[in-house]
Amino acid sequence: MSQGSASMAAGSAAGYQLSDAERTAIDHWRGKFPDGPQGQRSAIIQALFTLQEHGSGWLSTAQMDAVAEYLQVPPVWVYEVASFYSMLETEPVGRHKISICTNISCMLRGAGETVAYVEQQLGIKLGQTTADGRVTLKIEEECVAACCGAPVMIVDGHYHENLTPARIDEILAGLSPSDSAATDDEQD
């Protein structure tokens, strides 16, 4: 599409080199879309998701620029995608991510109290990360399509329904206390 913008990225992309595994994963997704700039553009979501999962759980500008350079798209296309989707993080986050649904069904079933309880237990507010870098409470979550089990929260991609304070204590206690988040990821 634009040689120019791709070269613009080159200046700031000096910071991040894609690993072979990341390249392979991006190539895999790139192959699923038609040739041409729009096909390259389509692969941005999965490319970013790959980098986020492989890396530190969030996307730095250098990483986004690296994706833009690799897919040969203008960097701003990547920034647009990264800033649009709530599951893509553009700021550092904790090892665990908790999203509490506060949409209508959950709200009617006491999501407000759920949020307050989780905040109190973790000692942080929505949008913040615990000092030890263990948990991030995401600031806003749209309806997660699990109204039948309201109130609902998502912890590292796993749904937890019909929340009560006791259940919440149990879930939070189950989060790895220190470095490794791997045990939770194994569940599914």
């Binding site: 040689q3 120019g4 960097p75 701003v76 800033s83």
Partner: protein
């Protein structure tokens, strides 16, 4: 054919009026065509359809809900109501949503009075808002010195985003975030550096993006719009200058589908601020030793006449090729009268032995609008987006819409904003060899033709050249473009001739480009004039800086020093003029005189003065007339002279003289005298040069200089525009760009201080490693202090580290001291 047309058209009814529309077109296009106004923000006829503002909702019969007119294709028999109750309700509701977060700051908003949102809110908005919650606020962005932002006012129509993606190709803005947090932003803070960036100001339907230099200077209703024509490049974009009391405050594009469509390059938009530069020359000045003394016109002219009378016919006049035809013709007449030489080809390199004269005016047998339909392009020695931005835009559209292959021969890569199918990166002394390679691939016969043998033996016929030849040959509408750098090249004659042969052999169109906005007009006015004489006693410069506006500053510098008197007609007091001139006469700029100019397609356009010249500045033609008058009165009787100049009493007479000359030229080429433009006159095919010798290559250890004319420094007006000089296109003053490999070979570090020698000239500079530059080449921008101290724009130069150089210099100086 007719049946085809019928098939592709459908008939729809809008507000009871029947209208035919092409299948697949949108309701809003049909409505626009018959003058039915549908409110809109995001729709723009030159941009893709986003349908995200929803303001254009209309009532379509049988549709279950209101439909966006910009994104609903017409269907046969469709009945559309733009003012029905349902349409009106929908539009009013959309307007209410748009105003929810829009601040009520119209009184302090620059867009006030010319705001699409303000206008439509009058028709569709409620007088009292029902929204009582907090409005959102968005942090402003710093987009550089040209565009001012108030992002809280943004309604997310995304016109700016789409413009930079689709037209400019720089993709600098995006829609960042989601929902209520959506912002138009660069994400990483940086300025918008597209050479067409100013257009997003015009596109913005609200006051989110406004003109930064113009900020808070005037309201739209205080100003008069004066039509004019830009003269910074050979396209002659149409402009409205918005003026108040004779002062230009702002420039906006004037629609002309054949030239600039509805866009304007930043250079054309922001250059006018140079008119108000503090260094404007307001009164005549006389040299008094080392100092300058203000004087009256009478005294200044008297001195000029004395000098001219002493010089006899040893007078050389040098005119900027950017000046309108009226100025050119006046000086031509005057030169004829006193037997002086007159020249406008300041970028011509052909002075030294073996240099081949160039065509120094722009001409083309492909209309600008047709360039957009080209399917293969060869761009040789053209930084097209810098030199002729609107032409670059046309080529980019050719690729976007028709998949045109863009093939480039250049000495330094720049942002081409499109896919380059083939790139030959070569130092300028190698250009002839590569072009010969392309020609040979097209027509192998040339290898044995007399006159071509030496050249063809040196030809470089690599895979890229083969591919370029093949693409040009296979294309139906190929275009070969000989860029501005070719015209400045010492071997311009040969290079232009080779490009002509390539165009002929491949059946392509040919476009020859040259610096100097009105060079084609100047060529027509000066045809047949004696161009130059050696060591004139009096040198007259009109709107030229002797060290900037030339391909050979050292040559012009010497001419100025040798001359007894240098008379400079200038609108500004520049350092090099103060240093080299003896008499400075304040002259009005093109914008302040108006006049006629001829573009590369031979289109002549005349415009009236848009601004008042400050101080006692006068149009150049009036000065020429006064001088001619004084001289003829003093020497020979007036009736013995070519009296035409003396009969020019007002602007109309001058315009008429130019019009007559252009008409005579038209009649000269067509029997009926009916040709509407001058294309046939200016489009002259480059002739075979007398000698087909190859350029002097740089010797071992030397580099070949590439003299680039920076985009924002092409003429005096641009150089005095604060806005342009603050933009990202400004060039560093003492810098030379080299390929990193060359730096390594020369054992120099990046940013090292070096002494550059070119012929007898030496200058110190900083070298910068730049992989975009061809190896064997050194990029030195023209019009800079460094270029002023060096020689010709193109030619071999050598480098040595500044530390060593200083020693050498010190030695040389002590030698010289001993000698004395």
């Amino acid at each position: 054919m007719n049946a085809q047309v019928q098939q592709d058209m459908v008939t729809i009814e809008i507000d009871g009026r029947k209208v035919e529309a092409p299948k697949g077109s949108m309701i809003i296009e049909a409505a626009d065509r018959i003058g039915i106004d549908i409110p809109r923000f995001c729709y723009h006829r030159k941009l893709s359809i986003a349908a995200n503002c929803r303001m254009c909702l209309v009532d379509v019969e049988k549709a279950p809900k209101p439909m966006p007119a910009c994104a609903t294709p017409v269907a046969d028999g469709m009945r559309v109501f733009t003012e029905s109750c349902r349409a009106r309700d929908a539009q009013k509701n959309v307007m209410e949503f748009l105003l929810i977060n829009h601040p009520l700051d119209c009184p302090i908003c620059d867009q006030g009075g010319e705001c699409e949102l303000q206008d439509l809110a009058m028709g569709y908005g409620r007088s009292v808002s029902r929204f009582t919650e907090r409005k959102r606020a968005v942090k402003d962005k710093n987009l550089g010195p040209l565009i001012s932002t108030d992002m809280t006012r943004c309604i997310h129509c995304t016109r700016c985003v789409r413009f930079l993606d689709e037209i400019a190709g720089s993709n600098e803005l995006g829609t960042i975030g989601r929902g209520e947090k959506t912002e138009i932003s660069t994400y990483i803070e940086h300025s918008i550096d597209s050479e067409l960036s100013g257009n997003i100001i015009d596109l913005c339907p609200v006051g989110a993006l406004t003109n930064k230099p113009f900020r808070f200077r005037a309201r739209s209703w205080e100003m008069l719009a004066r039509p004019a024509v830009s003269s910074h490049d050979c396209l002659h974009s149409n402009i409205w200058y918005h003026t108040r009391r004779g002062e230009v405050l702002r420039a906006v594009p004037r629609d002309n589908e054949a030239i600039n469509e509805t866009w304007l390059s930043d250079r054309d938009r922001y250059s006018h601020s140079g008119l108000q530069h503090a260094n404007r020359l307001l009164q005549p000045q006389l040299r008094n030793g080392e100092r300058w003394q203000q004087t009256s016109w009478e005294q200044a002219l008297e001195q000029a006449v004395t000098a001219l009378q002493q010089a006899g016919d040893s007078v050389q006049m040098l005119l900027s090729p950017q000046l309108v035809c009226e100025e050119q013709l006046a000086f031509r007449h005057w030169a004829d009268q006193i037997g002086a030489a007159v020249d406008w080809q300041v970028y011509d390199h052909a002075v030294a032995d073996g240099d081949q004269p160039a065509q120094n005016w722009s001409h083309s047998n492909v209309p600008l609008a047709a360039l957009e339909r080209a399917d293969a392009v060869l761009l040789a020695g053209a930084r097209i987006h810098h030199d002729q931005p609107m032409l670059g835009h046309r080529l980019r559209q050719a690729q976007r819409r028709h998949g045109a292959s863009i093939n480039v021969l250049t000495a330094a890569q720049v942002d081409w904003y499109c896919r380059q199918d083939s790139t030959v990166l070569a130092a300028p002394d190698q250009w002839a060899q590569h072009l010969a390679g392309i020609l040979l691939a097209l027509q192998p016969d040339y290898a044995g033709q007399s006159g071509f043998k030496t050249l063809m033996k040196a030809a470089r016929r690599g895979p890229e050249e083969e591919q370029i030849a093949q693409r040009l040959q296979q294309a139906e509408r190929a275009v070969v473009i000989a860029g501005q750098q070719i015209a400045m090249h010492p071997q311009a004659g040969l290079l232009q001739y080779l490009l002509r042969l390539i165009a002929e052999a491949s059946g392509s169109g040919l476009t020859v480009l040259a610096a100097g906005g009105n060079a084609a007009g100047a060529m027509l006015m000066h045809d047949g004039a004696e161009r130059r004489i050696d060591a004139p006693k009096v040198l007259i410069l009109h709107s030229l800086q002797p060290l900037c506006d030339t391909a050979r500053p050292e040559h012009l510098h010497a001419l100025c020093q040798q001359a007894d008197t240098v008379i400079a007609l200038s609108a500004w007091r520049d350092d090099d003029l103060e240093q080299l001139a003896d008499i400075m006469l304040p002259v009005a700029d093109n914008i302040e005189t108006g006049g006629t100019s001829v573009n590369l397609n031979g289109l002549s356009q005349t415009f009236a003065a848009a601004a008042r010249a400050p101080g006692s500045a006068r149009p150049g033609w009036k000065i020429a007339r006064r001088l001619a008058e004084s001289m003829s009165a003093a020497s020979t009787p007036a009736d013995a002279q070519d009296a035409s100049l003396l009969q020019w009493n007002d602007d109309d007479a001058v315009r008429q003289a130019v019009a007559n000359r252009l008409q005579a030229l038209r009649e000269g080429v067509s029997d009926a005298g009916s040709s509407v433009d001058l294309q046939a006159v200016i489009h002259q095919l480059p002739e075979k040069p007398a000698s087909m010798t190859l350029p002097k290559s740089s010797a071992a250890g030397q580099l070949y200089r590439l003299g680039e004319l920076p985009m924002v420094r092409v003429d005096q007006l641009c150089r005095h525009s604060a806005a342009l000089q603050a933009s990202a296109h400004q060039v560093a003053d003492r810098q030379a760009r080299l390929h990193p490999d060359d730096l390594r070979k020369l054992k120099l570090n990046d940013q090292a201080r070096v002494l550059i020698s070119q012929g007898d000239a030496r200058a110190e500079a900083t070298v910068v490693a730049d992989a975009a530059v061809a190896s064997g080449c050194i990029g030195i921008a023209l019009t800079t202090a460094l270029a002023a101290e060096l020689g010709a724009a193109f030619g071999p130069v050598s480098l040595q580290p500044a530390a060593d150089a200083q020693q050498t210099l010190a030695l040389a100086e002590s030698d010289a001291g001993d000698g004395a």
